[in-house]
Amino acid sequence: MLRILLLSLLTVALAGAAAAQETAKSQSDAEIEKEILKIEGERDQAREKGDNATLNRILADDYFYIGVRGNVRTKANRLDDYEAGVIKVLSVKKDNFMFKVYGDTVLMTGRETSITQYRGKPNDKPRQFTNVYIKLDGRWRLVFHQATTIGEPW
């Protein structure tokens, strides 16, 4: 009888622990999403201001960028573009975010209708983007960004 009671108590305790772990995990994912959104906000502000110091802090050293023209840029290329005024962000508008958290990797997808200017040519077409954030040395860094214009035939 005592054994049955002990086993029942153990089962209840284990079930409770599993449920608590699940809650903790989902809370943790929500916290991560919040943190990523904060970093994205900082990055967008830095894009608007051409604040390369902030961009340098957020972008990983091996940052890889694929723009709407399928152009591939490194971190250095990208920072140079901002520095030289080749790329200008006139206003930022992003929505439709989706996050997937895999440990120290976060995939963020969304839609962007920001108004940008590339070599003097404005772009306000909606585009779909994917961002990959990785936690490197305890900090979330943007390692990858790709954008595709929505609805254009190719």
Binding site: D62, F64, I66, G67, V68, R69, G70, N71, V72, M98, K100, Y102, G103, D104, T105, L107, T109, P126, R127, Q128, T130, V132, I134, L136, V143, F144, Q146, A147, T148, T149, I150, G151, E152, P153, W154
Partner: protein
């Protein structure tokens, strides 16, 4: 004089010990770096192998293989910026709305971050998409994450390359 010699002897011992420790640490760091490079090379090989299996499965419409490689909450954005779920993307292949007429992919780069691998590359494959033949170049990204010991395809995006 005796005491000075003793101090010098201790100093020499300390210098020798420190030198040996430095050499050992340097050797260990180099060994770790070599092991990491070997591990990354192995991962790259694994990713390219899964990628090959996936491409073959798309051509053969082998939905069982695709189902094993794609995660259930796949994030897939095609060359028109349209976001598809796993089932929508698989249905496009199963129904024949997407057909690969020829395969031509190059310029692969695999960026490895532990259990995450980001594959980038260029594609010139000829594809029939809802009856329209597309052969213009595209730049793509595929994100693989190791889940339960298996590399799974979690995200993909394609961007057409504009004419220069």
């Amino acid at each position: 004089m005796k005491s000075r010699w003793k101090w010098n002897e201790n100093t020499v011992r300390r210098i020798l010990s420190l030198s040996l420790l430095s050499v050992a640490l340097l050797g260990s760091a180099r060994a770790q770096s070599t092991v990491r490079n070997q591990a990354d090379a192995e991962t790259e090989k694994e990713i390219l192998d899964v990628e090959r299996q996936k491409d073959q499965a798309i051509r053969n419409r082998d939905m069982a293989v695709l189902d094993r490689i794609y995660v259930d909450d796949l994030a897939f954005a095609n060359g028109r910026g349209k976001v598809l779920t796993k089932s929508q993307h698989m249905e496009e292949i199963r129904s024949g709305n997407v057909k690969y007429l020829s395969s031509d992919r190059s310029d692969f780069h695999v960026h490895i971050y532990g259990g995450t691998a980001v594959l980038t590359g260029r594609e010139n494959s000829t594809v029939e998409y809802h009856g329209k033949v597309i052969s213009s170049p595209r730049q793509f990204i595929t994100v693989y994450v190791k889940l339960d010991g298996q590399w799974r395809y979690v995200a993909h995006q394609v961007t057409p390359v504009a004419e220069q």
